[in-house]
């Protein structure tokens, strides 16, 4: 009984409420909203961010942050274009890109773990650095060399109405839930996020866990970059510019504490849905640009205020009784 009650008052159920509200308003507002096309589209349009948000949740729960994800995404996409353009075969190029992602992530991880620098600082520098490398590869060109199967993979549905990227996302989602919630590695991610010194004193290999997380972050960002390239069919140096803030917003709105140690993938997926539906609803009502961003910003602040209001209300009730 108490468990049910606790669940009902949890952050996730609050998000659920917001989500249902958003969906209802959208459905009333626009006929097009509920169409399958639109539902798939609204996912597809942000699928790369959403995929990265999953790994970002791990990183933030681990009390780190990776600001370089979007730049890595751009770098991987540009590297793919550059490699194919310079004659590499598609499979080689894809493998190389994923490798670049992983190495880039490890590079971040190296400075964070071995040099003991704050990840905010390291990844802020590499936000500039990786983007710079992407520029080095493509300069002012826009590269459009991909075979048609690759573009189709990015643009055509392959399972029912779902394109590949969405399917990959769902697979990764399940994986993320299982790993974070039920495995030893997931437990380590939390514990290190709570207190990494304590984790080290408990014989946990903090360095390894962090390195793995950063490598995965790079790898998945690269994967997202590849999917992005496939979806758009061509690559340029500015791909994914500024995505990092959207991604972090999704994760934080999902109730993951910026100080690490708490949060869940359920919350993150709910907040992803909220952000996507909200944006889609606004787009359908012809609200674009800054107003959209402003509304999301407001939502972020308000939703962070709710738990405090709840506490306040409870303490008020407690003091009265």
């Amino acid at each position: 009984m108490t468990n049910v009650w606790k669940y009902i008052r949890s952050w996730e159920s609050f998000l659920c409420l917001v989500l249902i509200l958003t969906i209802s308003v959208n459905a009333v507002n626009s006929d097009a909203f509920l169409s399958i096309d639109n539902q798939v589209n609204l996912f597809t349009l942000s699928i790369e961010k959403v995929i990265i948000a999953l790994i970002m949740a791990f990183i933030i729960i681990n009390a780190e942050i990776d600001l370089s994800v979007a730049s890595m995404m751009g770098l991987a996409a540009c590297a793919l274009g550059w490699l194919v353009d310079s004659g590499a075969s598609m499979p080689t190029a894809l493998a190389m890109c994923l490798l670049i992602g992983m190495l880039g992530g490890l590079f971040n991880g190296f400075w964070v773990t071995f040099m003991n620098l704050p990840s905010l600082v390291v990844t802020l520098a590499m936000l500039i650095g990786f983007r710079g490398l992407a520029r080095v590869l493509v300069e002012d060109r826009s590269i459009r060399v991909f075979p048609s199967w690759f573009e189709e993979l990015g643009q055509q549905p392959i399972l029912g109405p779902l394109p590949l990227a969405v399917i990959i996302f769902f697979l990764l989602l399940i994986l993320a839930v299982v790993v974070l919630r039920f495995t030893g590695f997931g437990r380590y991610v939390y514990v290190i996020g709570i207190n990494k010194d304590m984790a080290r004193y408990s014989g946990i290999n903090v360095t390894a866990v962090k390195l793995i997380l950063f490598a995965l972050s790079g790898l998945i960002s690269a994967l997202a970059g590849i999917l992005f390239a496939a979806r758009l069919g061509s690559v340029r140096g500015d791909m994914g510019l500024g995505f990092e803030l959207d991604i972090i917003t999704m994760v934080l709105l999902g109730g993951v504490s910026i100080f690490g140690g708490s949060g869940s993938i359920y919350g993150v997926i709910l907040s992803i849905l909220i952000v996507l539906y909200l944006r889609n609803g606004m787009s359908l009502s012809n609200i674009t640009g800054h107003l959209q961003t402003g509304v999301i910003g407001m939502l972020l602040i308000f939703s962070a205020m709710v738990p405090n209001l709840k506490n306040y209300w409870e303490s008020l009730r407690a003091s009265r009784s």
Binding site: S30, A32, S35, D37, N38, N41, L45, S46, R135, E139, D140, S142, R144, E151, G154, Q155, R231, L232, G233, S234, R236, G237, D238, M239, G240, L241, G242, F243, R279, N280, S283, L284, N286, T288, G289, H290, T293
Partner: protein
């Protein structure tokens, strides 16, 4: 074709992003045409934020398709990345017209309303450089928007091509740098150019933000005698620099007219009064008659050429700035 008024078409005008004066002017022109044609449908002016321009443009195009809009006019900032979304919009029966900046591969695009001939832009810039630097010529550099801006890149390429002519042999293009259409970055880049090339005589900025920032930088540092500024600029923003000789000469076309013309073409196609095939002629209200033709500056694609440039200098800039 002369447009039949009062037919319904829901249209969207999409700039590269919101918050830049010239796009607002284009919107004015489009709204003017919208009224004139008594279109009972709606004309929406929708654009992404500058930070999120590429993804935002794709999103707006896709949403417009979902909404069942009849046509969209795009100033493309996403290069070929917009092509898949444009193609699927076309498949859904939507009219896709670009203006200001086309889809380079022309995939998914029916028509490009070219403000001027892109090759001509190159010549105009070269000519202005020649005029300013004199026959002695000398070093000059380009300060562009972002490295990804398709129209700027095309103009720069055209200028490089034009410079090969013996007439311009004294002009020496030393560098191309990017100010990302941000005042502060363009300003700093302009100063850096001066420091980097001691013999620099001219900064050519084919972007309204860049040219104004460069002119201000030269003025602030008292370098106007040494380094001139030119390129594509808005008279309202440039008038003082032209008058004090920091930017003696620059060029532009009317964005109001560009919006107006784009609207006419899009309206005609979306309402089925025009097909959008080479050889067609249509009347764009107060602006007169225009042709649809193959775009000679791209491998594929059709265009409607608005033209011409207006070159501004001391004689006409004040009148144009009001």
């Amino acid at each position: 074709t002369v447009a039949k008024k009062g037919m319904k078409a829901d249209l969207v005008l999409m700039p590269k992003f919101l918050g830049i004066l010239v796009f607002d002017q284009a919107n004015q022109g489009a709204q003017e045409a919208h009224k004139e044609l008594q279109n009972p449908g709606k004309l929406e002016f929708l654009g992404p934020t500058p930070e999120n321009s590429v993804a935002g443009q794709i999103e707006i195009l896709t949403t417009a398709t979902t909404q069942g809009q009849d046509g969209i006019m795009i100033s493309n900032n996403a290069g070929d990345q917009l092509a898949p979304a444009a193609k699927s919009a076309r498949n859904k029966g939507m009219t896709v017209v670009t203006w200001d900046s086309p889809i380079p591969s022309a995939e998914g695009e029916q028509l490009f309303i070219a403000q001027v001939d892109f090759n001509e832009t190159g010549t105009v810039m070269a000519d202005m450089a020649m005029n300013i630097m004199g026959n002695a010529g000398g070093d000059f550099a380009v300060l562009s928007a972002s490295p990804d801006a398709a129209n700027q890149n095309a103009w720069i390429a055209a200028m490089k091509e034009a410079l090969k002519a013996p007439k311009y042999s004294s002009l020496n293009l030393v560098d191309v740098v990017y100010g990302d259409d941000q005042s502060e970055k363009s300003y700093n880049q302009a100063l850096a150019l001066v420091d980097k090339y001691p013999n620099l005589k001219l900064i050519m900025a084919p972007t309204t933000v860049g040219i104004a920032a460069a002119a201000k930088a030269m003025q602030d540092e008292g370098l106007c005698d040494q380094v001139k500024t030119s390129g594509l600029g808005l008279p309202a923003e440039m008038v003082s620099y032209t008058m004090n000789d920091c930017a003696p000469e620059f060029a532009l076309w009317s964005f109001v007219d560009l919006g107006y013309l784009s609207y006419y073409a899009t309206y005609l196609i979306a309402t089925g009064q025009m097909e959008g095939i080479p050889g067609e002629t249509f009347k764009a209200g107060r602006m007169g008659y225009y042709n649809v033709e193959k775009d000679p500056t791209r491998a594929e694609g059709l265009r409607v050429l608005m033209g011409p440039f207006t070159v501004y200098d001391k004689s006409n800039v004040e009148a144009a700035s009001n």
